[in-house]
Each structure stands twice: as C-alpha cells, then as structure tokens.
C-alpha cells in the first residue's frame, strides 16, 4: 500500500522531524475508518421522545424546554395565545409529575420555570425584562446592588442580556426616575472620573460613598 512517499531511509529511535514539512493533503480512501460505534449508531432506529400523558404535562414540558434555554414562560402571554392555558395551569399545579415547575409572580404577570435550572438572580432579571417596565427594572436592580454588594450600578449594565435596552431606552427611563421623586426619591446619580454615569440608592449609600464606589468600579490597573 502507498506510504505516500514519506518513508525515510533507515529507522531511527528519535527523529528530529520538522513538522513544517508535513502536508495536510489527505488520501480520502485511506482515511475512512470503519468505526464500529459509528456504524452501530447509524443502524439504530430514530429516537422517539415519549409523548406527554396529557396537555397539562405538555405545558410542563414546554416550560422545561424554555427554562433550559434560559427563558421564562409568561402565563399572561401564553393565555392570550391559547385560552385553555389557565385551566391547564391549574391542572398542572396539582399534578405531582409537574412538581418541578415553579411560578415567579410580579405585579404584572406570573412566570413559569423549571426548578434548579436558573439562578434566583437570573429569574429576577428575566422577570424584570419580560415585565418590560424599564423604570422598575432599573430601580429594582439599583436598590439591590446598593444593598447587597454594596455597589453603584453603571447604566451600561442594562445594555446586556437579558435586558438589551437601547441607549435611548435607558436615558429615557433614568430621566423619568430622577424626575419622579416620591417613592423613587432614594435613587440618585453619580459619576466616575471618566464621566460614566452610575445610579445608587440613598437608602444604602451616601453621595460621597457612591462617588468613590463609581471610581472604584472603573479603576483599571
């Protein structure tokens, strides 16, 4: 059989091979491998996913598939698309086979998810994004960050998934927040030396502290 012209005179125990002289050229017929495992898999019948026993369980599976992709399922949205959904939801909540399906309630909606797939934080971020109330999204996270870390929140945080807000959306929401006062009076703005804008809650951070944290958030070295 062909050795592809590579045989070198004599045999050596160690050989200084210059790999730069190797060729990528391939003789296809010689490369094909009759791999038993590959043949076996090829010979298997198509894999069939078991069908759900009833439509309530189908709803549960629908929720699971979405959760595994990092998505929540909006009960309100789904109910608009299919009027059977509210009934199915009731059935699902009392079916032990669907015990891994949880709900996350906001003021606007109920979101369904499979337990144990997404973190608590991601549930919160997702629900906020789906609620679609930019002001509430920003206010909630600014307060959360001010309290838990503590840290100030850069405005570009909201450009990231799952929010994917535009500059215009963020600017408009921030303008509204800062002008509203009342229940939102604790939300204030500060800037880093770079000029980048940050928000924080005065319930948890003083203006002097917030300003220093904005500088801290960006320090590069």
């Amino acid at each position: 059989m062909a050795l592809l012209g590579r045989r070198k005179p004599g045999f050596t125990t160690t050989e200084a091979v210059d790999p730069r002289t190797l060729s990528d050229a391939v003789n296809e017929d010689n490369i094909v491998t009759p791999c038993p495992a590959a043949e076996q898999a090829a010979g298997q019948p198509p894999v069939e996913e078991p069908l759900p026993a009833n439509m309530a369980q189908a709803l549960a599976q629908f929720v699971r598939n979405h959760s595994r992709g990092g998505y929540l399922v909006s009960l309100a949205q789904l109910s608009r698309e299919d009027p059977n959904v509210p009934t199915l939801y009731e059935q699902m909540t009392s079916d032990p086979a669907c015990g891994d399906i949880r709900s996350y309630k906001t003021a606007k909606d109920t979101y369904l998810y499979e337990e144990g797939i997404m973190s608590e934080l991601y549930l919160m971020l997702n629900a906020l994004a789906l609620d679609g109330d930019d002001v509430n999204t920003i206010v909630t996270l600014v307060r959360y960050n001010s309290k838990v870390f503590p840290t100030v929140t850069p405005l570009d945080y909201f450009f990231r998934t799952p929010f994917s807000m535009t500059q215009e959306q963020v600017d408009a929401a921030v303008e509204t927040i800062l002008a509203t006062g009342g229940e939102l009076a604790d939300i204030a703005e500060t800037q880093a030396p770079s000029g980048n804008r940050y928000l924080y809650s005065t319930d948890h951070l003083t203006p002097v502290y917030a300003k220093s944290l904005a500088e801290f958030a960006e320090a590069n070295d």
């Binding site: 934080l121 840290t151 220093s212 070295d221």
Partner: protein, 720 residues
C-alpha cells in the same frame, strides 16, 4: 536524548553558561536548592551566593538567573511561568529584583531538563543560547542583533526548528536601556531591566527545545486536582469568580468592571471563519473556561469585539488572559495589524504618550485607545521596552501636559521630534518616540533610565529643583509612586487597605501580589461572599469594604503577611501571580469558597512528599527574608542608608493626602492615615520578625531560616 534523572517535579539540573569562556557546566538542583523550592528561590540564592551586591547590574560580572520550579510543566493550571532574577539597574539601591515571563518557554526549560539557567560573563560578540535537551551551544546572533524581538524570534525559530521556543531582547536591551524587557511567544515579556542585563552580555536570545518529561509521583491524584481546579474553582482572569454579564446559572453579576467579560453575545468577532460567541461559562464545566476572560473587552469596552481573533496566554493555563487582535485600521498606516497583549501594556501604557485631546476616534466611538494602545504594545514589544507598570507613561504624560520637554530638551532636539504626529493622534508617533527611548537618542530618552534616575536628572524629585515646583513622588493626581524608590503601586491601598500597602512597599519594583485584588475586584458581593469567606480564613476584621476602611488590626496584618509570602511561593513554584491562590471559587455550590490548601496538594501529588501549606509558606518566608536582607545591604552599599523603615518603606504623601475633604477611615476614600500606617508597619515587622525601628530582619529570624551568613554580612555592615 533529554536529561532524565528520575526526580518527581524538579528537572534536577541547574545549567550554568559562562558567556566569557563559553563553558557550560551543570550541578544538581537537589538537595542544595530544596529549601528555596525553585524559581525565585533559586534565583535569589544564586545572586546572594555569587554576586557581590555592589556589582553593576548591566555588566560582565553580573548574573541573570532564569528559573522554574517543581510545579512548572507538571500540568498544574497556570504554571507556565519563568522567573528571571537579576540586580536592578534603575530602582533606588540597585538591589535584587525578579521579572516573570509567561508564554510557553517555561515548559521548554523543564522538558529540556533544567530547573535553572544561570547566565554569567559576557560574550565577545552577539550570540544566542541554543539549548536542545543536553546539547547547549552559543550561536552567532549578528544577523539578528539590531533587529526587533518579533523578527529575532521569527528568524531564530525558523533557524533552530519548529519545536524550539524563543525569547529575545530588542534594541532597548542592546542599548542598555533600564526600562527594557525580554519578549517571547507574541507579547509575553519579562521586564525590570532584563533586556539591558542581557544586552550588556551580548546575549540576544535563548532558543530552547526539550524532549523530556516532568515526572509525577501520583499522576492519578494530580490529574484529579488539575481537573478539580479548572472545573470547580477557577473563574476568569485574576480568578474573578463572578461574571460581568448575566448568565442563567450565575447568582451574582459584577457591576464593578471585572475580568470575566465573556458572556452571551460577547464575541470573538474577528475569528477567521465567523464570529464566535463566548456564550455561557458555568462553573463546573471545563470546556468553557477559556471564554471567560475575553480580556479585550475589559481593556477597551465592547467596541473591541470586532477585532478579537481569539484569546491567548501561557502554557497550561485555561484562563487565556491575552486577547489576540486583528486591527485592520492599522493597515491604513502601513502598520502591522496582528497584535496581542493585555492590561497596561495594551492600553493605558501607550496612550499615555498622547495628550487626551489629541486622541480621536478612527472608525467607532471610543476606538482610539484600541488603535493607539495596541499599536503601541506592538512597538514596545518589538523594541523590547518595559514601562515600569506605566510609570514611564505617566511621566511622559505629565511632561507633555506641562510643557516640560520644551524646557528640558535642547532646542535642536525638541524641533527634530515630530510632535505633529502626536497632535494628530497618529499611531506612527509611537514608533518615533519609543524608538528614541529604545535607542537612547537624545535627552528625551533619559526617561528610559526609570523614574528614580530620571527624576533626579531633571530635578523632578525635589520641588525646589524644578520650575514647576513639583515632587513627582508626592504629587496628587497622575502619580502612582508607592515609594521613593522609583516604581508605582500595583494593587495597593486603593484595593486592599493597609494590607495592600504593606506588601507593595516590600519589593524593589512594582509588586506582583494580586492575592487581595483578586477577591476585592471579583464582582462578588462584599457582605454576602467576600467578608464571610475571608474571615473564615483570617478572622474578624481582616477585610474592609471598598472605600470604607477601618484602622489596622492583627488580622489585617496576618492577611498582609500571607499575601506577601504567597508571591514568593508562586514565583518559586512557579504559579501565575495573577491567579493564585484559589481564595474564592466560581462555584455557587461551594458558596464561592476556594481552596487555599490546593497548592500543597499539588506539591504532594507531584513530588510524592507530604507537603502542607505551612511547609510551603516557611520556605516562602525564607525567601522573603532573603529579599529583605539583600535590600538592606544594597541600600547600605549604594545609598549609605541604615534604616529601611525610614527610607525604602517610606510612603509618598499623596497616599495620605488624597481626597482632602474626606477623613481617612470613613466611607468614600481609600486614603491612609500616617499614624495608623506607622502602627501597621510596626505590626508587620513584628509579624515578620524584623527590627521594628529599622525594618531589617533580626539575627534570630535569619538563623531560623538558615540565613546565618546573611546575618553575618548585615552585622559586618553595622545594620544589625
């Protein structure tokens, strides 16, 4: 045939090359160097034993030690580091320093069979050192002398063979510029004047290939440990353990700009055959670790994604803290478009050579830093220039802003400089100005002597000696000098309260300790993660919240000492100073607790000996005392100073006087308090067993670490 002597971990041989005589000799690494472990420990031991501390650092009589450790090349993640030990030509006292070079060459050194390569003497003409296992020779380098590091590495690699790794000096080293380095891979470097130290010896490069192996005592356990580290512990660059972008599995996201910028929608936009989405990188998975850092986005912002080809970095490391770029805009200036580097050299360093107003966008908003910064990184690397953690850039920027060059340069020289290139924000400005520094052309190139001698030459270290009334060490704003010795802070009190400042002042160059900043800037919440985990290790009050510091206490000192010793260990092991120890982890299941005993587990599995962290830190403390003793002797010899506390460890005014409207130890500042600092120093010296008045190790401490000969020398000089 490689050198094989059946030892686990260590290669077993120290190679000594005398460039004057051409002689090549070998000695066994063990047992002689065992108490020093490897890397920095071997380097410091060799310099202490063999190089009188009044030796000129850039000379035939000086020595340069390339060394690695028992964990180098053992498969431990983030162990692809080479330590280079030499005398400093540029910091006050001209004392001992070590540089740390990444890339892949550390592996080649171990596989070729060496734990260290000692360079002595001076060749009569330019040579490079070629090592192939036990074949060691000095080869003619006249065909690459005078050329940049990229050309040199390319030519020598082609000449020696595909599996040779190469590291070379550039014109800066050849011209004995203090601010010089050595370059390997593509943008990996070892600085601190290594270029000049080798240039003074006519050694242009090292080319090395090894066919040997690192022997592992318990390979099954060792593989488990390596997998465990990558799977369950490590996060992104600097072991930042929380992603910046929301990810579905992540309990926290960072609002502090941190070094885990990869995430869904963050792209390696210039990947040759279609952009690659860095996606989610859950803790608990190995195959995603390399996407976390995506460091370019940290350095430049989202606009850089279109230029990122992929990530890169050092041998054995899953983190990949370099981004590798194709900046096609540079082609319009006939400049190379493929560039790679990270951190200061890639961004804030080179752009310091422009006035802010001179920098303009090229194609997208905010991209001037990318175009100018990356081209600058390329130029500096090719010239083999080093920027002293950007003291070089900061000094240049200050002089530019204050019209200093016009006053200090001869008129003819000033007029010969193409300032218009700077004013136009043209990338070719960097080729000119950095070329002058690398070739010692003109008075402006004095900046390449390093801060200490540069300030002295231009009277910038004394407000009465210059017309701007400035002391560059003390001024507030645009100044990072952390001592009066000529190097800046490197994650000091601005990240790590008194603890950070304590170890920052201990070295003869910017310190390499990232232990504190790694968790402080990780993006983890202070109250829920950082505080409980660290206090579980070091006790209550060992950490402060960012910008909300408290007075010094015993546990902060314990933490400071631990961080300080860790760096000596890491550079002896060798392990990456940016990653270890695994203080925190990325694992929600572990509640973000890391594994600070991991390093000892590696040592046990690799060497087959029982190692504990106490064993490791004891050796690290030995090396720390060598650093300190040598520094004391150097300061006596070169500066006639007897007291390190008052001289070497003195901290410039800005550290205490910044934020004048905010009191120390209140929310809103990271400034230090002078009285508290004196107390901190005293407590730290006590913890280290050093004289509290002078900061010099006592005889008792030195003898505890078998450094009695060092105590003798200190006594002879009247220092103890």
């Amino acid at each position: 045939m490689s050198v094989q002597n059946g030892i686990n971990g260590w290669a077993g041989t120290v190679l000594r090359v005398n460039l004057t005589t051409g002689s090549v000799t070998r000695e066994d690494t063990l047992p002689k160097y065992k108490p020093y472990i490897g890397g920095m420990g071997i380097g410091y031991k060799v310099i202490w034993d063999e190089v009188p501390l009044d030796t000129e650092p850039f000379s035939e009589e000086a020595k340069v030690v390339f060394s690695v450790g028992p964990l180098t090349g053992s498969g431990v993640p983030c162990s692809g580091r080479t330590t280079i030990t030499l005398l400093s030509n540029w910091s006050r006292g001209k004392s001992i320093v070590d540089a740390h070079m990444g890339g892949h060459i550390a592996h080649s050194i171990k596989y070729a069979g060496y734990d260290a390569i000692i360079i002595e003497g001076k060749a009569s003409k330019p040579v490079y050192l070629k090592i192939e296992d036990d074949k060691v020779s000095l080869e003619d380098a006249s065909h690459v002398w005078g050329t940049g590091t990229f050309n040199t590495n390319k030519v020598l690699s082609a000449e020696c063979g595909a599996e040779f790794d190469v590291a070379s000096i550039g014109p800066a080293g050849e011209n004995l510029v203090s601010m010089s380095c050595m370059i390997t891979s593509f943008g990996n470097s070892g600085g601190a004047g290594v270029g000049g130290a080798l240039g003074a010896k006519n050694l242009k490069a090292i080319a090395i290939r090894g066919t040997g192996a690192v022997k592992i005592a318990d390979p099954v356990e060792h593989k488990n440990l390596c997998d465990y580290m990558i799977r369950d512990l490590v996060g992104g660059n600097n072991n930042h353990n929380v992603p910046s972008r929301p990810q579905s599995w992540a309990e926290y996201t960072s609002t502090v700009k941190n070094r885990w910028q990869g995430g869904p929608g963050v792209m390696w936009g210039a990947a040759p055959d279609g952009a690659i989405d860095t996606g989610e990188q859950p803790s608990g998975q190995i195959a995603v670790a390399a996407y976390r850092a995506t460091k370019g986005v940290f350095d430049y912002g989202d606009v850089v994604q279109q230029y990122i080809v992929k990530s890169g970095g050092c041998a054995s490391c899953p983190v990949r803290c370099y981004s590798e770029y194709n900046v096609d805009i540079l082609a319009e200036y006939d400049l190379p478009t493929l560039v790679s580097n990270t951190c200061v050299p890639a961004g804030s360093g080179p752009t310091s050579f422009y006035l802010k107003d001179a920098m303009h966008d090229f194609k997208d908003e905010g991209d001037s830093k990318i175009v100018l910064g990356l081209h600058g990184a390329y130029v500096m690397d090719d010239l083999g220039l080093w920027e002293n953690y950007n003291n070089l850039g900061r000094e240049f920027a200050w002089c530019l802003k204050n019209g200093v060059f016009e006053k200090m340069l001869p008129k003819e020289e000033f007029d010969s400089i193409p300032w218009h290139l700077m004013e136009e924000g043209d990338p070719r400005w960097l080729d000119d100005i950095m070329g002058r520094i690398a070739r010692k052309e003109g008075e402006i190139s004095r900046i390449g002597e390093g801060s200490y001698f540069f300030y002295k030459a231009w009277g910038l270290d004394d407000a009465s000696k210059n017309e701007w009334g400035v002391n560059m060490y003390d001024m507030i704003g645009g100044n990072n000098n952390v001592t009066y010795n000529g190097y800046p802070k490197h994650h000091s009190s601005e990240d790590g309260w008194q603890s950070g400042l304590l170890y920052n002042v201990m070295y003869n160059r910017d310190c390499m300790v990232h232990v504190l900043t790694n968790f402080v800037r990780s993006g983890s919440p202070f109250n829920e993660v950082i505080k409980p985990v660290l206090e579980s290790y070091f006790g209550e009050g060992c950490v402060d919240a960012p910008k909300a510091y408290t007075p010094i206490n015993e546990n902060k000192v314990k933490l400071a000492k631990w961080c300080f010793l860790q760096k000596q260990w890491q550079d002896s092991a060798t392990l990456c100073d940016w990653m270890y120890p695994m203080t925190l982890s990325s694992s929600p299941a572990r509640k973000y607790v890391g594994d600070i005993d991991l390093d000892a587990k590696y040592m046990t599995a690799v060497t087959g000996e029982e190692w504990t962290m106490d064993d490791i830190l004891f050796s690290a403390e030995r090396i720390s005392n060598m650093l300190r003793g040598i520094t004391a002797i150097s300061f006596k010899i070169h500066e006639n100073m007897d007291n390190l506390r008052k001289t070497h460890d003195a901290v410039p005014a800005w550290v205490f006087d910044k934020d004048p409207d905010v009191p120390a130890f209140s929310e809103g500042t990271d400034k230090m308090d002078r009285e508290d600092w004196e107390k901190s120093l005293t407590m730290f010296y006590e913890a280290m067993g050093w004289n509290v008045d002078t900061g010099i190790p006592t005889r008792e401490t030195l003898e505890k670490f078998d450094l009695g000969d060092m105590a003798d020398k200190l006594e002879e000089l009247g220092l103890i």
